[in-house]
Symmetry: C2
Subunit: 156 residues, 2 copies
DNA sequence: CGAATATGGTACCAAACTGGTACTATTTAT
DNA sequence: ATAAATAGTACCAGTTTGGTACCATATTCG
């Protein structure tokens, strides 16, 4: 749990594919075929990313989708925000006022701090980083680009 | 979205309350009353935390729950792990082998890196930090302990 | 002993969310 | 005109989640 939706997962993979040739455009059909994903899902996600301003779309035959900005100008935080909504571990951070205990909650300030830290990290990673191996993440250690189903341990 | 369950939310608040007097024990009934939470939920959560080894429990009249370790020896990562399961943004990180695209997925290694970074941060915060204001989070800025329903902006 | 009070475990339920599909309208290249 | 593409919305089944109920077990105290 604490998992992002498949929609977000798919969306980021799609964006990463588009980022490999940032000036080309692809139709939903092409992308679905290449990524081995169901076309209706791909279509839905591409529509969303277009509404959110991360993609440009072109209609008609030979239409398709293209990145709205260069890959190094699109952060992981923006992608998550477009696909999943505001990043917030706790509801009281995303929409203050929903919890009656807010005024005397002893941990809300700390959740805010934790949340900010994570978001700051996600804003430091761009789509062009995702096409390669992320550099400069503190203490990242070896992070092979193609783990190939290897057993990467979960660290929680 | 990307939100932790209320169970986790409640659980951490309960643990924080217990941490304020680490050697005392409280019954589920007392905790539910103080925190203004439904007793059955509180009870369910305390049982879980006991099974996961974060609490000690005592039965019978004058029974109750007590922290199994000192507050500075319990990290936020452990609490999340106990309440919510392993922390993983993507399913393919938590349980490798579930995604057929794993062997050629271009972003999995990077998700692993991102995940490790977040988990590392969560392991750096203990329950004793949660009872006060978290120190030393890089770039955290001001994080008032009692925001009191103030409008903290969401940063995604 | 036995009654009262606490936790342990499990099963259950309704409501919300998610992954995925279907259908119709609109745009545009040929 | 026709075909191929996106735009928008509505829908549906399966899962998850928040929350409750019930019964068993342990322990204190009279």
């Amino acid at each position: 749990m604490i998992r992002m939706s498949k929609q977000t997962d798919y969306g980021i993979v799609l964006l990463t594919h588009l980022a490999s040739t940032p000036d080309a455009s692809y139709s939903a059909r092409e992308l679905a075929a290449v990524m081995h994903l169901p076309l209706p899902m791909v279509s839905k996600i591409l529509k969303l990313l277009t509404r959110e301003g991360l993609l440009f779309s072109y209609r008609g035959p030979s239409g398709g989708y293209r990145l709205a900005r260069q890959p190094n100008q699109i952060t992981v935080a923006e992608m998550i925000n477009a696909l999943e909504g505001p990043f917030a571990f706790m509801e009281c951070i995303e929409t203050p006022g929903t919890c009656r205990q807010e005024s005397f909650c002893p941990v809300r300030g700390n959740w805010y701090t934790i949340n900010s830290t994570v978001v700051r990290a996600l804003r430091g990673i761009t789509l062009s980083d995702m096409t390669g191996t992320i550099p400069g993440m503190p203490g990242a250690g070896a992070s092979p680009q193609h783990p190939g189903g290897g057993q990467l341990p979960v660290i929680a």
